[in-house]
Subunit: 433 residues, 2 copies
Amino acid sequence: MARIVMKFGGTSMAGTERIRRVAAIVKRQQDAGHEVAVVVSAMAGETDRLVNFCREANPLYDPAEYDVVVAAGEQVTSGLLALTLQALGCRARSWLGWQMPLGTDDAHAKARIGALDAPDMLAAMADGEIAVIPGFQGVSEWGRITTLGRGGSDTSAVAVAAAIKADRCDIYTDVDGVYTTDPRIVAKARKLRYVTYEEMLELASVGSKVLQTRSVSLAMKEGVRVQVLSSFIDDDAPPADSLPGTMIVSDEELAQIQSARLQSARLESEGPDMERQLITGIAADKNEAKVILIRVPDRPGAVASIFGPLAEANINVDMIIQNVGRDKGETDVTFTVPAADLPRAQALLESAQATIGFQRLVTDGKVAKISVVGVGMRSHAGVAATMFQALADRQINIQAISTSEIKVSVLIDEDETELAVRVLHTAYELDAI
Amino acid sequence: MARIVMKFGGTSMAGTERIRRVAAIVKRQQDAGHEVAVVVSAMAGETDRLVNFCREANPLYDPAEYDVVVAAGEQVTSGLLALTLQALGCRARSWLGWQMPLGTDDAHAKARIGALDAPDMLAAMADGEIAVIPGFQGVSEWGRITTLGRGGSDTSAVAVAAAIKADRCDIYTDVDGVYTTDPRIVAKARKLRYVTYEEMLELASVGSKVLQTRSVSLAMKEGVRVQVLSSFIDDDAPPADSLPGTMIVSDEELAQIQSARLQSARLESEGPDMERQLITGIAADKNEAKVILIRVPDRPGAVASIFGPLAEANINVDMIIQNVGRDKGETDVTFTVPAADLPRAQALLESAQATIGFQRLVTDGKVAKISVVGVGMRSHAGVAATMFQALADRQINIQAISTSEIKVSVLIDEDETELAVRVLHTAYELDAI
């Protein structure tokens, strides 16, 4: 018997029929003898509806009252799932953020989870009652409703799993796992059985929308085993334990699994594709915009005068290149910012033109960032070289490069996104046979 | 300076624009120097939407989870009104049922209000902050959300007004007061400046939908001065203190007001219409159904065998007549039940036919109950006689009669409802000149 946290997103909770499917999936886990807590999102579209009401009421809204309004969406679905589980003959009850209680700080609308001490809920679970928990919400020490920020239900699920020492946190989504790349771009993309937390972080932050970044960070920090699964499976599917979702694990656990599988591969004559891939996945992100500052004085402090104000304004700068200028003592500086922040960044830089001393500012929103991710590259050289060569072979021009320990990203023309992803998927031998 | 509770219904809260009107009305009270608490309903239609979700999830729903779901509607509007008040420059915050807390018993979906001890809220109000309270919801001693049953927001408002010793509880609705009868039926209906609690109870329970019966009972018990006002007034209207709504007061207060007004009438040469009317209002209710049991054995216990099971099934029986039967030892029994309960009542009675011993059951849903109400009839004979004569003059047949100390009701053919109300409105000299 295990203790399991299951999480269902807004698409899975959108309406009576879908909630009934969710209840059936949950019941299967309980029937298998597990203790179950379920974390739910609001119905798809509901949070947007509530957020819009807040904006209409008061464009400069008080985040404490915003939280009162938007937390209602998950309150509704938690009650409805409890009712639906009861209709299937299960014992179930909802535990709202303030009832468990799930303590947070009082940074309303983007609260951070603090303590979760839920002895009553755990006792009820041990007694065979399914706990249904509205995601995204908590309670401040002042007894006011808080929310964790958009997508916070994944984070709620991981936090609950950590606090109640769950054996596993199953995140049910509208995809059935994490793929080597977006299957809509590359038909030969393959589902990954395992990824590490760090790989998932890189994949999540570069546009693979399976899991919210914060939830992966928290899972890594707390050592929660997270599994990504599809909630759109038919009712006769086997229990989730044997479902081929994607499990997110630590480096160490992955190493153990791999050595065990190599062992079994030898014994059962399995092919060499059991071996660890150098690259785990390829992500594409079109939500970046490029900024070029032309003819910046090449002197100490110049770069600081550019990026200091952007950092203060909470604008994330990602890739930075300093080109050699045409004239001595001058240089061109290129970098990327999230496309949504481009107007603010441009306004900030233009107002600081005299201080920075650049001659001209050029922007380009038609760019895409392509990233190859994999813990394997730690021990292998040549990953970046393979990438540059593969792109060059197809005449795809690289506008900027950034790297981390387990990631290489390049900026290219947005029109070439799909081509680049397919080319790289093949180059790293990720294509399904 | 007074302490005022204001209550706004679902029609007044239906959407951003209407909430803005409500906020303006509330702000006017605060600007006049009053301490203000506002009780709000869910947006019109929202509670029905949530109730339907519960029914779809589980037809035999657990009322505790039903409460979690439906309480979300008022949670949303309380946050939105707080935000809207803030946009007008007021300080405001929402106080949910569990935050005040507003204690109730644990009869979920129809909870009764117990204790309200809200020192923090009162301190905030005294400090100039407007308290926004979601109506209809409370919290049980087990820390679970409860709701008061449909229409419970009026009751919340009165309970809050009683608990915080408010000087007045203003109920804003989509009508501008209590009328002598439905103005859609009788164009010459007149708005009442004052009605007593008991009159209002009779008017509320016989179909005048201005206030929920429970809220009037509670106001009478707690001595809360309730005023019914329209929320659809223009922004330049004078503050509510001087608005011509209807004030609901005790017999004693009414007597004082009347003697004061007669005094002033003499001084200011006002007309005799200042004197107390014999009849305060006329109500019509088409939601009754008539049941006739034909040839019931005329023996001790026969009536108990009919009405015992109905009472156990929580079906309210209103008017009862026992006709003389055609044969000795037998009688016909006629009574009314709410139309919504007719199928259940019929099934119950048919299954008990052998026990009761009646020969045949006849039902009629096409009936209406017409009631004349007024505390004046306590001291005046002839009220019923006037009613019967007026109806007889127009050939309107009376099928059943029931009376209380301040009410006479008759059952007539539903088609004659409007005619009967008009005839009686004239007969009791209620028509506006």
